[in-house]
């Protein structure tokens, strides 16, 4: 059962990732990334990380990617242009990627003592997760909230057009 689920969703992951590269329209790429993300949520479930699987779907697939599709729709982004691209990327980047993949694969296949996972084994409950998060890692957690606040402010400051916010219009109208 576990093997079948893994194989099925690994195929979905790889197909989505390859489709992301092959498609020329950004919205198709975004949708294939959503497929990858939801399949990864299933992978997390197989590894016993229930809460992360739900968070992956809610935060990544449900919020971050909605933002992406929203921007693609808003800018009405068309098809990608066919250009030659950077020659540095072709001459150094591609061999480097192949080398990195080869090295990683060799290490992973040669390393001893990696366990395996089967159904219903090693499940991390939300309770354990939150105990560690809110006791030992409380400060990093709070700092992340500040980070997100700053990100919101930055996004608003960047994306708004000068002098066109509704408050400005109200002020000049009065």
């Amino acid at each position: 059962m576990h093997v079948i689920l893994f194989a099925l969703f690994a195929v979905f992951c790889l197909a989505g990732a390859i489709n992301l590269l092959v498609q020329t329209h950004p919205i198709n790429s975004a949708l294939s990334l959503i497929v990858v993300m939801t399949s990864l949520a299933v992978m997390y479930l197989l590894l016993g990380a229930e809460f992360l699987a739900a968070a992956q779907v809610i935060v990544y697939a449900g919020a971050v990617m909605v933002l992406f599709t929203f921007v693609i729709m808003l800018l009405n982004a068309g098809r990608e242009e066919r250009t030659r691209g950077s020659s540095v990327a072709r001459t150094i980047g591609l061999p480097a990627v192949v080398v990195i993949l080869a090295v990683l694969a060799t290490i992973i296949l040669h390393v001893q003592g990696l366990g395996n996972t089967s159904l219903g084994q090693g499940i991390t409950t939300t309770e354990e997760l939150s105990t560690v998060l809110f006791h030992e890692l409380l400060l990093p957690f709070e700092v992340t909230s500040v980070l997100i606040l700053i990100a919101i402010l930055g996004a608003v400051a960047l994306a708004r057009v000068e002098g066109s916010s509704p408050d400005d219009a109200e002020r000049t109208g009065q």
């Binding site: 919020a63 990195i100 996972t117 997760l129 890692l137």
Partner: protein, 106 residues
Amino acid sequence: MNFLTQPVPLSWFLLLSAVLFSLGVVGFLFKRNIITVFLSIELMLNAVNLSFVTFAHQWHAVKGQIFVFFVMMVAAAEAAVGLAIIIAIFRARGTLAIDRIDLMKR
């Protein structure tokens, strides 16, 4: 029946993560649309998250999963700021092709 109850080796998860990461790098290097480049970065982050969760399972360490949680939060913040930058660039330059966003080169 034996096949159905067989456990999955963790190395398969790590391999999948490595392949997804490489595909993300390839996308980052070769895609010419700024949004797709950004999507490739998200793909790389996701691939790394998968290996974090795998190792958390291997060592029965909850902190590995919490790290993924932090990566998700940072990715959400990064997506908000990044997309705002993309919108600003599109307003200024009228294009999303990264070959044409070369104002600093000239």
